[in-house]
């Protein structure tokens, strides 16, 4: 009986240690922020973000990513630097604010670098920055539903430090685009119309008798 609490404690310590170790190894995550949009909407935006999950600061001189979705009802049209989280190269973007030429398709390649050679943006431990807002349109005929949006692995999605060395990406986190179905319009059924017509006829007859 005495040994059971010790076993549980040891197990808990092991789990915590494993989690800490995993976090210590993972230094960066590129993730897609999920959004909900309506069918038939246009110029929607979905953010791609970079989070420094490591214990020390991260210097980034450039990045690239490719975002993809399977459904043909979503069409990516471009990308810019107007992200919800602060844009990674705010004020020093070489390509911004438009990060991708106008396009139409189910995938889009986006890239940018720090405008000053041999310099980069510094992300403190735990910091999150925007890598770009991807703009997209939704078909008015789209069925409602949840659609996964993914990032293409290295080398298409990549990070570089200010000297041009690859910075490993530990996690590519997909996101979702939720398309809400259009609200159906109120159309009377035939039986209701017949009842309504009967009521009107009775009313008019009673008024006539008076």
């Amino acid at each position: 009986m005495i040994s059971r609490p010790r076993t549980l404690t040891a197990l808990a310590v092991a789990v915590i240690t494993a989690c800490v170790a995993a976090r210590a190894n993972a230094s960066s995550i590129v993730s897609i922020q999920s959004v909900t949009v309506a069918a038939g909407s246009s110029a929607n935006g979905i953010d791609v973000e970079l989070t420094n999950t490591g214990p020390s600061a991260l210097s980034i001189g450039g990045f690239s990513f490719e975002i993809s979705i399977a459904t043909l009802d979503v069409s990516f049209t471009g990308a810019d630097t107007f992200t919800t989280a602060a844009y990674i190269f705010g004020g020093n973007s070489l390509f911004g604010p438009i990060l991708a030429a106008p396009a139409s398709g189910q995938s889009l390649l986006v890239s940018d670098i720090f405008a000053i050679p041999f310099s980069g943006a510094t992300l403190g431990a735990g910091a999150t920055v925007g890598l770009g807002r991807v703009l997209f349109d939704v078909s008015p005929f789209a069925a409602g539903g949840v659609f996964s949006v993914s990032l293409t692995p290295f080398p298409i999605t990549s990070l570089s430090d200010e000297l041009g060395n690859d910075v490993p990406i530990d996690v590519l986190s997909s996101g979702q685009i939720t398309i809400s179905a259009p609200q159906p319009s109120a159309v009377p059924e035939p039986s209701s119309l017949l009842l309504l017509a009967s009521g009107i006829a009775v009313g008019m007859r009673r008024r006539h008798r008076k």
Binding site: L94, S111, I113, I156, G164
Partner: protein, 484 residues
């Protein structure tokens, strides 16, 4: 007389060994008899030998002309018909026309003759001497800088008996003559004239009249100032290389130096000679030696009796062309591929340019294998350029043919690398600045950084000679590509 083999040659006239010709080296420790005149019909050799432009020694004996060849040895060349030709008395000379000339004693009237004998033995008497016109008992002739033959005679008649100085053309026309006098020049010259570097002629006599102190002089040295130009004193033969490949040729230059120290290019005037014609030969008067076999030969030039230094030229087996540089062309730039220092080329390749050790005379557009070329330029030079369709991605094993229908070979027919040809691996990934096999944002940052540092051809992705925003933009379009 120095022969071209470095030995001294001479003749003797007296017993006990009977007349012979011999050779001896300059250190005196190598001596041999090269000719025995006994029972040859030539009689006794007179005076010295002359080294003619063909490298053969020629001499006069009392009864004929002979030669000593370093190849075939001793042979008679011509036997005098003494009643008409006279008999040999002094050494021969070689004139500018290549023929040998000599003056004999005896002959018609017993007064002597002047004759010409070609190197092939063709003989012609060109003048009968006489006591009144030229004097008699002649000494050897001198070919002076005016091209004429000048001679002296021991005796004469009419106007003095002390001999004369005379001048004749190589056709035998007597131009003028001058009596030697006891009170003036001295008489009875026993040696030929020589021409000084100042153009004047100098001679000696063996008798003279009474001196101012009342004593008789035994002889004189006299000078004849005929207004002749300075004589040619030496010829220097030069050429760019001491060794050339068989089947090739080399231009020689002959530079003459005159008595007044002036120099002149005599390349077109001299007679060129190769000691071993089987190794190298000359065209007429050009100084261009053509190698025809491996070995060595001595090249000399002769003019007016002056022979140059011997230029030893070695003819080697033909050397096959080899590759000295392999370049890829992109944009307006080129890059020399060396070893495996870099695995991948970050440009769009549009041509292959190869530099060889010597001009390539034969080749074709299909001599380059591994990629399909569309054009070839530069044949006849040492640099060939193949145009290829733009290559942006892929691994190619390019090859240059050393045999077969597409062989690359020089003008002598020597194939590339003696038939081995050449091959070069090429891996191309447009935009891969950092040579890691993929194009990513790291290449984008690297090329952007290269804008502000000295020119780095690896960052000149467009190949326009500069690293700028255009290179960054081109890399951007290539992100995600990788070598298969």
């Amino acid at each position: 007389m120095f022969g071209r083999d470095g030995y001294l040659y001479g003749v003797t006239t007296s017993p006990p060994a009977f007349p012979i010709a011999f050779r001896i080296n300059t250190s005196g420790d190598s001596y041999s008899v090269v000719a025995r005149f006994y029972n040859t019909g030539l009689g006794t050799p007179e005076k010295g030998l002359v080294l003619a432009s063909d490298g053969i020694l020629y001499g006069v004996a009392t009864l004929g002309v002979y030669f000593i060849s370093p190849v075939s040895g001793f042979h008679p060349l011509y036997f005098f018909n003494t009643p008409t030709d006279g008999a040999g008395t002094d050494a021969l000379i070689q004139a500018a026309d290549g023929n040998l000339y000599g003056a004999n004693y005896s002959g018609p009237g017993n007064t002597g003759t002047v004759f010409r004998v070609a190197l092939d033995g063709t003989f012609q008497k060109i003048l009968n001497l006489s006591g009144a016109t030229t004097g008699t008992s002649p000494n050897a002739l001198l070919r002076a800088s005016d091209g004429d033959l000048w001679g002296t005679t021991l005796l004469s008649s009419g106007g003095g008996a002390g001999g004369k100085i005379y001048r004749v053309t190589t056709d035998g026309a007597l131009l003028d003559s001058t009596f030697l006098t006891t009170a003036g020049t001295g008489i009875q010259p026993a040696a030929p004239l020589i021409q000084g570097t100042d153009g004047k002629l100098y001679g000696t006599t063996s008798a003279y009249g009474r001196l101012a102190n009342g004593q008789f002089a035994s002889g004189t040295i006299f000078v004849v100032d005929a207004g002749l130009t300075s004589s040619l004193t030496s010829i220097a033969v030069t050429a760019p290389n001491t060794s050339i490949a068989n089947g090739t040729s080399q231009q020689f230059t002959a530079t003459g130096t005159y008595g007044d120290n002036s120099v002149a290019d005599l390349t077109a005037q001299v007679e060129w000679h190769s000691s071993v014609p089987g190794v190298a030969t000359f065209g007429a008067g050009t100084g261009l030696a053509s190698a025809v076999a491996t070995g060595w030969t001595e090249i000399t030039a002769s003019l007016n009796g002056v022979t140059s230094n011997a230029f030893v030229m070695t003819v080697t087996a033909p050397t096959p062309p080899v590759l000295t540089a392999y370049r890829v062309l992109f944009g307006s730039q080129s890059y020399t591929v060396t070893g495996s220092a870099r695995k991948r080329l970050p440009w769009q390749i549009t041509g292959i340019q190869v530099v060889f050790s010597k001009p390539i005379a034969t080749g074709s557009v299909t001599s380059l294998g591994g990629v399909t070329a569309t054009a070839l330029s530069g044949l006849g030079t040492d640099t060939l350029t193949w145009t290829v369709p733009p290559l942006s991605l892929g691994a190619f094993v390019t090859s240059l043919s050393g045999r077969g229908a597409n062989v690359l070979q020089d003008a002598q027919g020597s194939p590339l690398a003696a038939g081995a040809g050449f091959s070069q691996d090429l891996k191309v990934l447009l935009g891969d600045f950092n040579d890691d096999g993929v194009v990513s944002s790291a290449d984008l940052v690297g090329v952007n950084n290269a804008i502000v540092v000295p020119y780095n051809v690896m960052a000149d992705i467009t190949g326009d000679g500069a690293v700028n925003a255009a290179d960054v933009q081109l890399v951007r379009t290539r992100i995600g590509t990788s070598q298969p």
